[in-house]
């Protein structure tokens, strides 16, 4: 395993959300699971779908599509959970990310990767580490740490507060 890690500096796991092709640095990917039952945690933002049991651990699953404002991920035969290890404020955290389908492990030299364009991408530019290309199709390489750091709790707590306020009104 150790050898494999050292030799896959330029490897990316590609996956789709809607029609867009995304990629994650393989170093942060732990495994890919089929979609299992997700236990919803009440009063949390919709983009965090809930927790799953990953060999005895409670692992939160994030709906990337919802996070990016692309609608919610529906269950299909291809739906997967990509288990990633990200760094949130210096703490390694294991999370799941929903993907419509997982494609392949794709190799790209860093010279092939371009910086994200200022506009025109379907998601916020600061979530993007760079743009790659597979044939004619662009690959959006995600900065996974940024994506998940932004799920950080200021936002979550706020969402909870709003939910609470609503509940208080009815």
């Amino acid at each position: 395993m150790a050898e494999a890690v050292s030799s896959n500096d330029n490897q990316y796991l590609t996956f789709t959300l809607e029609r867009e092709l995304f990629a994650l640095d393989i170093a942060s990917v732990r495994e890919v699971l089929e979609l299992v039952n997700i236990t919803r945690v009440p009063r949390t933002p919709d983009a965090i779908r809930g927790v799953i049991n990953l060999r005895g651990r409670a692992v939160p699953v994030v709906d990337l599509k919802q996070k990016f404002g692309m609608g919610s991920t529906a269950r299909t035969v291809n739906t997967c959970i990509i288990i990633v290890e990200v760094d949130i404020e210096g703490e390694p955290t294991v999370l799941g990310a929903l993907a419509d389908s997982v494609q392949e492990v794709y190799e790209m030299e860093s010279s092939q990767i371009e910086p994200p364009p200022r506009m025109g991408t379907p998601i916020r530019a600061d979530y993007i580490r760079g743009m790659g290309k597979s044939g004619e199709q662009f690959i959006i390489i995600l900065d996974i740490n940024k994506v998940f750091s932004s799920m950080e709790l200021a936002g979550l707590a706020q969402a909870l507060g709003e939910a609470g306020a609503e509940a208080g009104e009815d």
């Binding site: 236990t39 009440p42 049991n53 005895g56 409670a58 979550l156 707590a157 609470g164 509940a167």
Partner: protein, 700 residues
């Protein structure tokens, strides 16, 4: 990879730190009861061990330093020096010094070496000044409190005419025997034929091995009135400081040499022959057969008595285990409990009676395995409390205040991790009480309070929780000052109506920590947000009670353990949840009103309890059943009903944390794994009820 040496050194560091903690606790205890010889022995032993193993593992500076301190305490222990404030101060500094020496970074630090020298100077001066036995000190030595048992060898040789003066050696021997466990050997060789016997001459003498907590002086005192008629030698064979019974079973030859019966050269010669040593020595006419027999008797006696000591130590023995091994064990047991729950569910579905029997057996086993595993991690909180004595002593001296720390509930057991993580917040609370809560002696007397302040630290089990209270009899919080500060900082709108409790809770706001005006007036707020955060992280809660001029008490409530609980599984809106069984009183059923509206209160045999619906609280939607099961829980002494769709049953629940992303979700204390492998959320009933109450309050 760590070398074996490093492993041993690490083990020594751990042990030494623990010994230092014990030492400090004993010193604090000694300050209160200066006459306790038991404590003096304990202190001496701790130092002895620190010194001995320090030398063994290459901590020479520690060994040298401790040796000199130990020498002083040996004098104290033997009643040659008294216990005074000065000695205690020196000793506390010595503890700090040893602790500093244990830090690997400090090796060879010149400043530290100098500090050590100054300290030793102090000790030496102390030993010098009080070299004459102080009156109090001799009282200490004579106090017959049960100290460490030492083993002595006595040789009692009455002179022939001792009987003439009216003394009876047998009475002396009885007195010796009364001091402890005793083995006697009588030397009767001088007793001749009956015809020649002079009934007024004492011809017998005795060798005696005694195991007794008495000091050498006490032994000598027995013979006080026969000093001139009796030759007495007392040797200390074992001072009770040897950690294991080793090194006290001496070889026969060694004993004879020690007693001066033969010379080492005689022994050498004798050993070169092939016969049994005793016979050889006797044959060669070097010793009388009776002397050999006496020495043999001593050998046996010392071995027996020493073994008794070793046995006693074994009974209270413990094993040092690395914490991560224990954590791993708890994890494994957690997994086992989950599998067991899965098996139980599968068996219930199949209905095979044979399997059911096996499953029940497995359940019993895993339950007791769980309990005993968790109990390994449970430690009494007393050790932590003891640490605080030192803090209170130092800080109050520094601030010129006179403060007594009263602790109770030391035996209350808590999960090791909880205790460790609790230490910092408690230190904060105590500091606050000392620094700001308790007024200066002059101020106290001005308002008619005793000059000495009092801080109480209490722990107790309350239901499934532990309550730890830090209370002081100081000035109390000033609500007006807190309000003013909070308004100034924009935390509350001017004139907002707040209950006293809500007002007090403002001091947990991060902004308050730097608010100098408040700290000087009300005396609270330094780092209180840190306390709150630490307690929250332990799934605990903090409460403040305060009365102006009378004092403040802060109560921390904590769950017993962080790992596994008994839980009641319920279902609501298609999801599964777990209610900790510790909170559950009973389950009842409640039909809806005729108009289909949910009832908000339930009548429990005449007592009214509010009901909250999980569906509503969690925004699950959907239609609840016509007859709703209500789980009745007790929270903060009040009963509250929780309406669910279905009560599934009781299960052992392994708590899995929800992780960072859900850190601020307070209605759940974690998640657990259900029999089918999916997850169920564990409801933090207290937090849920608090939040619902808040919404209710917001509605009206």
């Amino acid at each position: 990879m760590m070398s074996q040496d490093d492993v041993h050194r690490l083990a020594y560091l751990e042990e030494a730190k623990e010994l230092l903690a014990d030492l400090e606790a004993s010193l604090l205890e000694l300050e209160r009861t200066p006459g306790d010889t038991d404590l003096l022995h304990k202190i001496f032993r701790a130092m002895h061990t620190i010194k001995g193993s320090g030398a063994m593992f290459g901590f020479d500076d520690i060994a040298t330093f401790t040796h000199d301190v130990e020498t002083v305490f040996d004098k104290v222990r033997n009643g040659l020096l008294g216990v005074s404030r000065e000695l205690l101060d020196l000793s506390f500094h010595a503890c700090d010094h040893i602790r500093a020496l244990l830090e690997p970074d400090n090796a060879g630090d010149a400043g530290l070496t100098a500090a050590g020298r100054t300290l030793l100077e102090g000790f030496r001066r102390y030993a010098g000044e009080e070299a004459a036995p102080a009156a109090a000190a001799s009282a200490v030595s004579q106090e017959a409190s049960p100290g460490v048992a030492r083993i002595y060898r006595l040789r009692i040789r009455p002179q022939g005419d001792i009987l003439v003066t009216g003394n009876n050696p047998l009475h002396l021997l009885e007195d010796v025997c009364s001091l402890g466990e005793c083995r006697m050997f009588a030397h009767v060789e001088a007793v001749g034929p009956l015809d020649d016997l002079d009934p007024e001459a004492c011809l017998v003498w005795w060798d005696c091995v005694l195991r007794s907590p008495a000091s050498r002086q006490e032994l000598a005192d027995v013979f006080l009135f026969v000093e001139d008629e009796c030759d007495l030698t007392i040797d200390l064979l074992d001072d009770g400081c040897a950690m294991d019974g080793e090194g006290i079973h001496k070889l026969l030859g060694q004993i004879l040499v020690e007693r001066g019966d033969i010379t080492p050269a005689d022994l050498e010669n004798a050993l070169s022959a092939q016969k049994r040593l005793g016979d050889i020595l006797a044959d060669q006419g070097l010793v009388q057969p009776s002397q050999v027999a006496s020495a043999l008797a001593e050998q046996t006696a010392v071995r027996d008595l020493g073994q008794k000591q070793a046995e006693r130590q074994e009974k209270t023995s413990s094993i040092r285990v690395a914490a991560d091994k224990l954590d791993f064990l708890v994890d494994l047991v957690g997994e086992l409990v989950i599998v067991q729950a899965q098996i139980r569910q599968a068996v219930d579905e199949r209905g095979d009676p044979h399997l059911r029997g096996l499953a029940e057996h497995l359940e019993r086993l895993s339950e007791s395995l769980r309990d005993s595993t968790l109990s390994i991690r449970m430690l009494p909180i007393g050790a932590t409390f003891a640490k605080f004595r030192r803090l209170v002593r130092d800080l109050s001296t520094e601030l010129g205040k006179d403060i007594e720390l009263v602790t109770s509930g030391e035996e209350t057991e808590l999960d090791k991790t909880v205790i460790e993580r609790l230490s910092d917040p408690l230190v904060h609370l105590l500091r606050n009480s000392i620094d700001h809560g308790i007024e200066s002696p002059a101020q106290r007397q001005a308002v008619g309070k005793p000059a000495a302040g009092r801080i109480s630290l209490a722990a107790a089990h309350v239901g499934g929780e532990v309550c730890i209270t830090v209370g002081d009899d100081g000035g109390g919080l000033d609500p007006a000052a807190i309000r003013a500060k909070a308004e100034q900082r924009g935390l509350i709108s001017p004139g907002a109506e707040l209950t006293l409790k809500e007002l007090y809770h403002l001091i947990f706001q991060p902004g308050f920590s730097t608010a100098k005006a408040v700290t000087s007036v009300s005396g609270r707020g330094v780092g209180m947000d840190v306390v709150k955060r630490a307690i929250d992280a332990l799934r605990g809660s903090v409460e403040i009670d305060s009365e102006r001029g009378k004092g403040t008490s802060i109560t921390v409530r904590l769950p017993l353990t962080l790992a596994i609980i008994d839980g009641l599984q319920v279902q609501a809106g298609g999801e599964y949840y777990v209610v900790p069984l510790g909170h559950v009183e009973e389950c009842v059923e409640l039909a809806r009103d005729e108009d289909g509206q949910r009832r908000r209160i339930v009548n429990l045999r005449g007592e009214v309890a509010p009901v909250l619906s999980l569906r509503e609280a969690f925004g699950l939607g959907g239609q609840p059943p016509a007859i709703e099961p209500i789980v009745v829980a007790r929270v903060d002494g009040e009963r509250i009903g929780i309406a669910v769709d279905r009560v599934v049953g009781e299960h052992q629940t392994v708590i899995k944390t929800l992780g960072r992303l859900y850190r601020d979700v307070d209605a759940f204390s974690g998640a657990t794994i259900r029999g089918d492998g999916s997850m169920a959320l564990i409801i933090d009933v207290a937090a849920l009820v608090r939040r619902e109450a808040l919404f209710e309050a917001g509605r009206t």
